[in-house]
Amino acid sequence: MRNAALLSWQPRLGRLFIYATLIAVAALYLIPLWVVLLTSFKTSADIRSGNLLSLPDVWVLEGWIKAWGTACTGVSCDGIRGYFVNSTVMVLPAVALSTLLGALNGYVLSLWRFKGSELLFGLLLFGCFIPFQVILLPMAQTLGWLGLANSTAGLVLVHVIYGLCFTTLFYRNFYQALPQEIIKAARLDGAGFFTIFWRIVLPLSGPITMVTLIWQFTAIWNDFLFGVVFSAGDNQPMTVALNNLVNTTAGVKEYNVDMAAAVLAALPTLLVYAVAGKYFVRGLTAGAIKG
């Protein structure tokens, strides 16, 4: 009897220990978010007097409204609203183009092999490992030649080029698992290069497209370096504006505004992950479609 009871208790204790540890670690991990969110709803006086972790005395949206509409980023004081739009206008075409081109690249490199295609893929892959900083100067020069310096189009171009290495890698490895015979069958059915791509290959690419979209959206939205280097003034993305907002202090530092702006800046990526996160994991583990 006693032995049986012991046996059933021991695993439960172990379970309890595991859960307690996990909850503690998760809580620790979430503290910054907690602080950021709570601070954004506090008044300046509340922040100065209170504890970092305490709940606001009064919940106010003051910081949020100011961050969105009237906070100063450098010389202008229109909040981050305009930059939010900038980022959106820049991110959408950059993500769409880099994903589509990556899909096309992957399609060619895995299903329409040619002499030297493996080498080309290797070189493209190499692009994933080039640090951002290395390409800043040559890229600035190139954008200047193209007449795209300090424009949204220029920033889109940079992100598309830099994103291609990753998107190509994703799609190429995904398409690698597609049976070559499907392509042969489609060719015999009379379909050409793009017909096969649009009608057969792309419809099969759901999981990997989810992965690529999330990956690219997160990377491009969160990018600061390219944004700060290749854009100026009114074209700057959200991340740069956030930096400017935090660094522009006229008198007292308004932590609630800074925090609200930070959450606003992070919101789109959080949203994307919340909506499509499960597809991300599924896409990464999916491997392939059976033929």
Binding site: P179, E181, I182, K184, A185, A186, R187, L188, D189, G190, A191, G192, T195, R199, I200, P203, L204, I289, K290, G291
Partner: protein, 377 residues
């Protein structure tokens, strides 16, 4: 009507490896031609070249006297059924069959009629809404054939279409393919490595090895008069027995001896006109059915004789018991009726019918043919 000519076609890869050499084939309209050979013999390469999926290094391919050697696959009007079926996973059965017609810009109602016709023909009309992943292997196979049939192409290519099916279904589908061919009278080139498939389906078989056609002929020709040791060993199951023999000479003529371990010795007269010398080493080829239980009514026939052989092992297959003997040191399989009750280790009286005996040159592997009889014929 449609005929396909393959003239001196060759395929060389860049690294100097020659995959196919001077292939010549004439496929008649409505003919069922099978390319058979071990893996790596170039049969699939040849098929891909006919389809236009691989480039042709030399020679010509003509379809109805029209040169299609370098035409794009879509311009050839050739359909192909693949080993993996290669159905489009994102489309349902209907769209899989309709795809080629849509690409060719058929009117919608004609596409619909054609898909229905093909689906009825193959008994898949109740599956049209399903995706390929929801079909069994046999159903996928039918859809793949349906896709090929729908376009009514000039030539059908089948690339090992049955090898992914389990044994029972394979036999069923084999029959179905043959029925379909008889009903539609289509021109079919069919690749397989399965010699039984080749024998049962083909009007003519081309046996390939190392990129060269070893023999082209009807199944019966290939079975009874193989050109060389390779063809003889590849076609037929269980395989043909090869027995080393030495030509001997007496006043009656030339003969060879078959010696069993137990001391039995049969003498086999060589066919007249066989260009061999006394003491020459030959390989005697005898199908397993050349050895059988003694059937007294046949003993009177020419070239039939009997003797007692020591049985090494038996393999009952049901209708026959394959009985392993040892003759001139070589393992020999005999096809014996189970009623004769062959027992391992015991002696068994057997009948040898040498009327289908073949002789091969042991060095070149070529079959030695009897020269034309002077006057008798």
């Amino acid at each position: 009507m449609t005929s396909l000519s393959i003239c001196n076609v060759g395929k060389q890869y860049q690294k100097g490896a020659t995959t196919l050499e001077n292939i010549n084939l004439e496929i008649r309209s409505g003919e069922f031609l099978i390319l058979v050979g071990p893996s790596g013999c170039g049969k699939s390469t040849l098929m891909n070249m006919i389809a236009g999926l691989e480039s042709v290094s030399s020679g010509q391919i003509l379809l109805n006297q029209q040169d299609i050697t370098h035409a794009a696959p879509s311009q050839r009007d050739i359909a192909m059924v693949f080993q993996s079926y290669a159905l489009y996973p994102n489309m349902n059965v209907y769209d899989n069959i309709a795809f080629g017609l849509q690409i060719r810009k058929w009117p919608k109602d004609e596409i619909d009629a054609e898909v229905q016709r093909v689906a009825k023909l193959l008994q898949i009309d109740h599956l049209l809404k399903r995706k390929p992943a929801q079909l069994s292997g046999g159903q996928q196979q039918r859809v793949a054939m349906g896709r090929a049939l729908a376009r009514r192409p000039k030539v059908y290519l089948f690339d090992e279409p049955l090898s992914n099916l389990d044994a029972k279904l394979r036999v069923e589908m084999r029959t179905e393919v043959k029925k379909l061919h008889q009903r539609l009278g289509t021109t079919i080139v069919y690749v397989t490595h399965d010699q039984i498939e080749a024998m049962t389906l083909a009007d003519r078989i081309a046996v390939m090895k190392d990129g060269v056609i070893q023999q082209l002929g009807t199944p019966q020709e290939i079975y009874q008069q193989p050109n060389n040791l390779f063809v003889a060993s590849f076609i037929g199951s269980p395989a043909m027995n090869f027995i080393p023999v030495t030509v001997q000479h007496t006043a009656q003529g030339r003969f060879v001896e078959l010696k069993d371990q137990s001391g039995t010795c049969l003498q086999l007269a060589l066919p007249a006109g066989l260009a061999v010398k006394t003491d020459q080493q030959l390989v005697l080829g005898l199908r397993p059915e050349a050895f059988s239980e003694v059937q007294p009514h046949k003993l009177s026939q020419a070239q039939v004789q009997q003797g007692e052989f020591l049985v090494e092992m038996t393999e009952p297959t049901g209708p026959d018991t394959l009985t392993l003997l040892r003759i001139n040191g070589a393992e020999v399989t005999a096809r014996v009726a189970p009623q004769a009750n062959p027992q391992a280790g015991a002696k068994l009286p057997l009948m040898l019918d040498a009327s289908q005996a073949l002789f091969f040159d042991p060095v070149s592997g070529e079959r030695l043919r009897a020269l034309a009889q002077p006057a008798a014929a």
